[in-house]
């Protein structure tokens, strides 16, 4: 697919496969490719943004700002739009790719023209109403604003652990890659959550520097809270009727509860109970699969 710079994909993607958890909650996303400084970096950031947007588009509308066009005003406007469209029970996702810098006082996200500061980003994002938010700041020095960006209803991922890690990061590359890889879907539910995406990125970055036999120049940070919001689909999931879906979710909840109590149970008893629950799931899945 060719890159459609500075155009929203909202209209183009409404016809794509969109399966959401409930009829009312939606996922709204904004993906920004920052100023590359040269044609090569512009292209890299745009490609990463395109990949991420493609993945997110399976879940809901995505607004994309390309490297050639994004600036302080258009970013502020895009975040205002997101605040207006993402309701309280929706999920709002903002991904910012590119270069960043930190002068010991202010973080700056590099866009065309005057760069927005960390304070700007914090203020603009505070207008988001969604109860579930994910902000990914995939730039150098992004760790400088990690604390400021965190909020009760917001998960934050930054590419660096502080403002001193100023070398161009590979976080964005592997974040984009992770949203297209089946192996990132570690719980095999057909979707890649933010938790799964971050786990993928962390491992990929470690392998990246190990392969080059270099010391890592970036260390990603993330909020401690779980980040279950979905970012991509890797398989077409089965359509279940409501009773089957309810039954499956109930048994899966029992598995989760059982896992949580694993350390306090004798191993044999744990495995016996686990197997029983999983067989129940297997039978329900087989029955759902067999239905016309």
């Amino acid at each position: 697919m060719s890159w459609l710079s500075a155009k929203t994909l909202r209209g183009a993607l409404l016809g794509a496969l969109v399966i959401t958890g409930s009829a009312s909650a939606a996922t709204h996303a904004l993906v920004v490719a920052g100023f590359g400084g040269d044609a090569d970096y512009d292209q890299v950031f745009n490609q990463e943004a395109q990949t991420i947007a493609d993945a997110l588009s399976a879940l809901g509308p995505v607004n994309v700002l390309a490297a050639g066009e994004a600036n302080r005003e258009s970013l502020a406007a895009a975040i205002r739009d997101l605040a207006a469209t993402a309701e309280a029970d929706d999920t709002a996702i903002v991904v910012m790719l590119g270069h960043g810098s930190y002068d010991t006082r202010h973080y700056r996200y590099h866009l065309r023209g005057p760069d927005p500061t960390g304070e700007d980003l914090t203020q603009w994002l505070s207008s988001l109403r969604a109860d579930s938010q994910l902000v990914v700041l995939a730039t150098s020095a992004s760790g400088a604003v990690f604390d400021a960006l965190e909020a009760d209803n917001r998960i934050v991922f930054t590419a660096t652990k502080n403002g001193q890690e100023q070398i161009t990061t590979v976080f964005g590359r592997y974040f984009a890659e992770g949203l297209t890889r089946d192996e990132a879907d570690t719980d095999k539910n057909g979707a890649i959550s933010a938790d799964e995406a971050f786990a993928y990125v962390e491992r990929a970055i470690e392998a990246h520097f190990e392969a080059d036999r270099r010391l890592a120049s970036e260390h990603a940070l993330r909020s401690e809270a779980e980040a279950p919001m979905r970012l991509a689909r890797v398989a077409t999931t089965t359509e279940y009727d409501t009773p089957t879906r309810t039954a499956l979710e109930a048994v899966e909840d029992e598995v989760v509860a059982l896992r949580a109590s694993k350390s306090s149970m004798p191993p044999g008893e744990y495995l016996e109970k686990l197997q029983a629950l999983l067989i129940e799931i297997a039978i329900l899945e087989a029955e759902a699969e067999a239905q016309p």
Binding site: T186, D187, R203, L248, Q275, L277, L278, I279, E285, A286
Partner: protein, 727 residues
């Protein structure tokens, strides 16, 4: 009292060789110390309180007050241009292991007095300690300048013993063995005792005489121990050094060497104890500090034991490597037991170190060593595939095979095998029976052959011990392997076996060779050179380099037809070159770019068959191969073996093995992949479960399936397998 006295025994006599007994107060103290260490110490203390500044500084050096001694030496040297003062200052730096500073001061002494024999001896001693090729030349020059100098005579004799020329050594030593001065006499007796020990002519009357002359001094035994070490007789070396430190408990240099060698015989607790003593007495010794730090780090290692074999791996590498390492080592020992009719005695320990510097310290106490593996009898120490990678040209599996062969040649000859022959068998076995059967003939060997730089069999040990040019060690390895290959071709494996038997009987290098093969060394050298000429004489290195360069350039420019022609020319010229820089990959890429996938695959397969293990062409082969191809399985296994931390390689090998119903081997690969802590553990547990199920291991399959579903309860393929296993 510092043990430096004992080093000074061998040094202070350099001080005033012309002065005779009693003329040098430091020497007088040394003579006292030979019989009574405490009395010797008191003697030095009196000198340290004296009025002669140079004597004070020398005495303080021996007593271990390096800082005060250094201050006095500095003041002396600033106020006078004395060659002797420069020399003794250099001796201080030698004692505290700052060898470069010592070297500089010896040079300054020579600048002030070109005839300063002691400064020359100091420089030669440094060259000897560093195993430099020029040590022999420096020592010979000193002897020619001062033919009656006892130190020069003994230094040349020392080098003769190292080179196996014991008769020549005896001629130099014997006149000094009756010297009036006990300092000279005891050193001469020590070297004669070393000759006795190497010849198993025990008990040694020379050793007894040395100990009678110097009952409080362990240095004579240290000299004997040195020769045991360089002939790899580590158990004997340890016994001698233990005796040395029992005679002289504060001989800290001996504690250091003892500690390092106890590690070579798998006595780690004793090693640590002696190294800690050495450190308490001499904290300047970098080898001791490095080794103690390494021992601390090795507490993170895990041992895998299989009968009489133990493999020691870092905890991070244990999971992915243990199965391969144990299996390889066991196969190697079994293979060599059959080929050389020798079963290892005692326990075998193989250590793999995850960083090269740890391996270097483990081997020699210092970082920066050039080798990648070492065998000390039944103890093998080597780089792991994380320390050096296949992309860097290091094939750990072949290296382990190589070192395992050393266990056999050392054990079968009670460590009497010559260095070159042990290396030769190891290299040859890598080619003949090794895991990759990788037979690489590097450029430096062809170069040496064409420039007449190869050593004859009688002198080949020197190529390893005291190389005369930068690549000589590498060239010697290849030459030694080719000699063994030639012997097998001309005389059969029995020829190699008979040579080993000769070493075991105590024959020296030449006699073991000649009696086993019933040819003279000179005849053999001639025949071997003819063999090399026949095999490699047609290689035109300049043409090969030109063709290779042309191939790479053409490829960069997208001229694939040109790249194909040039690469084919390079390979035709020098087909055995499979190291980094080979042209097999570019030729395969050229074929692929020109649309001929079959020829591309054929080239990659040929490269692999020659022992090439560069991952890129092997991975490319697998991408284009059908899963049904038998060779695809073997190539995948090769890749997983040389790149054991490559998750994709381990998984691919497992998949292909499972596809060919080799389920047990597939399980090993999937377990190794899981040990690499992949992101997607559920999928790997499922693959493992399927392999276990395929092998009829239902219990294991069920456990692995549950492990997969524990992570991913809605993982449909695993759920299906769970139902199948429960039917």
């Amino acid at each position: 009292m510092r043990d430096w006295i004992n080093r000074i025994v061998w040094v202070a006599v350099l001080a005033t060789p012309a002065m005779g007994v009693g003329a040098d107060p430091i020497e007088d103290c040394e003579r006292v110390a030979l019989e009574d260490a405490d009395a010797g110490n008191d003697c030095y203390l009196r000198l340290a309180d004296g009025t002669d500044e140079l004597v004070r500084a020398r005495a303080l050096t021996v007593l271990g007050d390096a800082r005060l001694a250094n201050g006095i030496f500095r003041a002396i040297n600033e106020s006078s241009a004395s060659a002797d003062a420069r020399f003794f200052w250099g001796e201080l730096y030698q004692q505290i292991h700052q060898v470069r500073d010592a070297e500089r001061l010896y040079q300054e002494a020579l600048g002030l007095d070109p005839d300063h024999i002691n400064a020359r001896l100091g420089l030669a001693r440094i060259a000897i300690d560093r195993f430099e090729g020029r040590a022999r030349q420096l020592s010979a020059e000193i002897l020619s300048l001062s033919p009656d100098n006892a130190d020069a005579l003994l230094m040349n004799a020392f080098l003769d013993i190292e080179a196996g020329r014991t008769d020549a050594a005896r001629e130099l030593i014997e006149p000094i063995a009756d010297a009036e001065d006990p300092l000279d006499r005891v050193r001469a007796l020590a070297l004669l005792a070393a000759i006795d020990h190497l010849a198993d002519d025990l008990p040694s009357e020379h050793e007894a005489a040395a100990l009678a002359t110097a009952p409080a001094n362990g240095q004579a035994l240290v000299d004997i121990g040195h020769f045991y070490i360089i002939t790899r007789r580590y158990e004997e070396a340890v016994a001698v050094f233990e005796q040395a430190v029992s005679i002289q408990p504060k001989l800290y240099s001996a504690h250091a060497v003892l500690g390092l060698n106890l590690l070579r015989v798998d006595r780690f607790d004793d090693a640590r104890r002696h190294l800690e003593i050495a450190y308490d007495g001499d904290p300047y010794n970098a080898e001791v500090v490095n080794t103690l730090r390494l021992l601390d780090a090795m507490e993170d290692y895990e041992r895998v034991t299989d009968g009489d074999l133990t493999v020691w791996l870092h905890a991070d590498e244990h999971g992915p490597l243990k199965t391969q390492a144990v299996s390889l080592a066991r196969r190697a020992l079994d293979e060599f037991a059959e080929r050389y009719d020798y079963q290892t005695e005692g326990h075998v320990l193989i250590e793999l170190h995850p960083t090269h510097e740890d391996f270097a310290v483990r081997t020699s106490g210092l970082p920066g060593i050039g080798i990648l593996g070492a065998a000390f009898g039944n103890v093998v120490v080597m780089d792991s595939p994380r320390a050096r990678t296949i992309e860097e040209g290091f094939d750990w599996s072949s290296a382990l095979w190589h070192e395992a062969a050393h266990i056999i040649t050392l054990g079968a000859t009670d460590n009497r095998v010559s260095r070159w022959f042990s290396e030769g068998v190891s290299v040859f076995e890598e080619w003949r029976t090794g895991p990759t059967q990788r037979r690489s003939i590097p450029v430096n060997f062809i170069d040496a052959l064409q420039n007449d730089l190869l050593l004859g069999v009688a002198r080949l040990d020197e190529g390893f011990i005291r190389p005369q040019y930068p690549d000589q060690i590498g060239v010697s390895y290849t030459q030694a392997g080719l000699i063994c290959e030639f012997i097998e071709a001309e005389f059969g494996l029995a020829g190699l076996q008979r040579i080993l038997a000769g070493y075991r009987e105590g024959l020296d290098n030449v006699r073991a060779f000649e009696s086993a093969l019933e040819v003279t060394i000179d005849d053999f050298d001639e025949r071997f050179l003819g063999y090399l000429e026949e095999r490699f004489g047609s290689i035109d290195l300049d043409a090969w380099r030109g063709a290779a360069e042309a191939a790479f350039t053409a490829a960069r420019e997208g001229d694939w037809a040109g790249a194909q022609v040039a690469a084919e020319a390079a390979i035709a010229n020098y087909p055995d070159f499979i190291e980094n820089g080979h042209t097999y990959t570019v030729l395969a890429e050229a074929h692929a770019a020109l649309g001929d996938v079959d020829r591309a695959q054929a080239v990659r397969k040929k490269f692999w068959r020659k022992g090439g293990r560069d991952p890129a062409p092997l991975a490319a082969y697998l991408e284009n191969a059908s899963d049904d191809e038998i060779e695809a399985v073997e190539i995948a296994r090769s890749l997983a073996l040389v790149a054991p931390f490559d998750l994709a390689a381990r998984i691919r090998a497992g998949e292909l093995l499972a596809h060919h119903d080799r389920h047990r081997e597939a399980q090993d690969e999937f377990r190794a992949a899981l040990a690499l802590d992949p992101v997607d553990r559920a999928s790997l547990y499922l693959e493992l479960a399927r392999a276990e199920h395929g092998a009829g291991e239902t219990e294991g399959a069920l456990a692995s399936t549950l492990a997969a579903l524990e992570i991913a309860p809605r993982f449909r393929p695993a759920l299906e397998l769970l139902l199948e296993l429960n039917q």
